[in-house]
């Protein structure tokens, strides 16, 4: 059952802590977004394995963009 990590707000991808194949636990910090000069963490919605990572550091993203997919 795949779950998407969506961007909760618009900004720039600051750090990506996950990569394809890595294991994550629910509530791990997966990606850090920078907006208004502030770093906000995006958390893994569930535990599982990372299937896709759609962004890299420096990318500009909009609210609700798919950042990654976890199975």
């Amino acid at each position: 059952m795949a779950e998407k990590i969506l961007a909760p707000l618009a900004g720039k991808v600051f750090k990506v802590y996950i990569s394809v194949g890595s294991k994550v636990e629910e509530d791990d910090e997966a990606i850090i977004i920078e907006a208004m000069k502030m770093e906000t963490p995006v958390f893994a919605p569930c535990s599982g394995t990372v299937k896709e990572v759609k962004v890299k550091e420096g990318d500009t993203i909009e609210e609700d963009d798919v950042l990654a997919v976890i199975e």
Binding site: P8, A10, A35, M36, M38, F43
Partner: protein, 374 residues
């Protein structure tokens, strides 16, 4: 022999003999502000030039602030007294401001207004303590957390307090992350702090273009005294939203804003000479300024709680604190306090709504003071 005479003559023209203890105190204050700017990142863009301006104004015989002759006096006279620099700062700020989050949930404008109540409350308290009406208004506007507006109002109503009020305003803006959270937590329950906001609707390009034009019209006609600041602010916003004047937009946000910021801080600091600053009254300005920030935070949060009694889409009351228009510091603080309560609650963009509304609110408050007191 001649050499000794020449050397003595040089000493007599030097300012060292004319330095007073008050001036040394002012140097310390100026250098402290510079230290805070560099080491602690306290609003460096303003406090660094202000700090240096303070030192320059207290160098005898240099006469940098001598009327009609001093270099820094000319920046002060033609830039600030002629009311050119603060409106130009607003041109840049308008170009930087995104009204999208406000337009998506217009009711948040009331939170921007609610936080201005601190301005008026401080005005009355300052007057009760003994400041005259014009001074009290200038102190009150510090609570609006808006540097250029404070400078604009002080120049017109209480120029002798310009330096102190500006330093107070910018210092407290830098301290917003320390000042606001305790008040926000005191006035809200955990249940209120974890309120998730309804998704912001998408705002059309047309709305974003019409907003500055309609606002400019309405506000300038309603409060003509606010015209210089409001006109420039909305023009800058039109540059941003039109998308067809990107060169103007870019210049307003970057080159222009950066250049006028240099010429805002330096002369403002240079108005703080030892005679006008080292007086007991000035301590009160700093206490009242802090009081203003705190009350504004409180009234913003309380108004949000009040609004929740009447609406079914609850507003997270923390957003009220963002009505204190330190952009985007207060919005960041709101987000952080919200994330402490629920780490998946992303309040930042919602908080930008009241944050930018507060800028308009503070300019209107300044316009109201000018209309009544001038």
């Amino acid at each position: 022999m001649i050499l000794i005479q020449e050397t003595l003559a040089m000493f007599k023209t030097s300012g060292f003999f004319f330095v007073t203890p008050g001036m040394v105190v002012m140097w310390a204050i100026g250098f402290t502000l510079i230290y805070l700017a560099i080491a602690k990142d306290y609003e460096p863009l303003l406090l660094l030039p202000i700090g240096f301006g303070i030192v320059l104004a207290n160098l005898p015989l240099a006469d940098l602030m001598k009327p009609h002759e001093g270099l820094v006096w000319r920046f002060y006279h033609y830039g600030i007294q002629w009311e050119i620099i603060p409106p130009l700062i607003f041109l840049g700020l308008g170009a930087l401001t995104d009204f999208g989050p406000l337009l998506a949930r217009p009711v948040l404008i009331f939170l921007g207004a609610g936080a201005q109540a601190g301005v008026y409350i401080t005005f009355f308290v300052a007057h009760a303590i003994g400041f005259d009406l014009k001074e009290a208004a200038t102190i009150g506007i510090i609570g609006g957390a808006d540097g250029p507006t404070t400078i604009f109002l002080a120049t017109k109503l209480a120029p002798h307090m310009l330096g102190s009020c500006a330093v107070a305003a910018y210092s407290y803006m830098a301290l917003v992350p320390i000042i606001q959270p305790p008040i926000m937590k005191l006035l809200t329950t955990k249940e209120e702090r974890v309120i998730r906001m309804k998704k912001l609707r998408k705002v059309s390009r047309l709305e974003k273009i019409l907003f500055p034009m309609v606002s400019a019209l309405v506000i300038i006609l309603l409060v003509p005294a606010a015209a210089p600041l409001m006109a420039m602010f909305m023009l800058g916003n039109i540059f941003r939203e039109a998308k067809v004047v990107e060169r103007l937009n870019h210049a307003a946000q970057n080159e222009l804003l950066n250049i006028v910021t240099i010429f805002l801080g330096l002369p403002v600091g240079a108005t703080m000479n030892a005679e006008t600053f080292l007086q007991p009254k000035v301590i009160f300005i700093f206490f009242l300024g802090l009081f203003a920030f705190m009350i504004s935070t409180a009234t913003g949060v309380l108004l949000a709680k009040l609004m929740n009694l009447f609406s079914k889409d609850k507003i997270n009351p923390l957003l009220g604190a963002a009505g204190v228009s330190a952009v985007p510091m207060a919005a960041r603080v709101v987000h952080k306090v919200g994330a402490e309560a629920d780490k998946r609650n992303y309040l930042l963009m919602y908080a930008m709504g009241p944050n930018v509304a507060g800028v308009i609110g503070t300019v209107i408050a300044a316009g109201v003071f000018l209309t009544i007191l001038k």
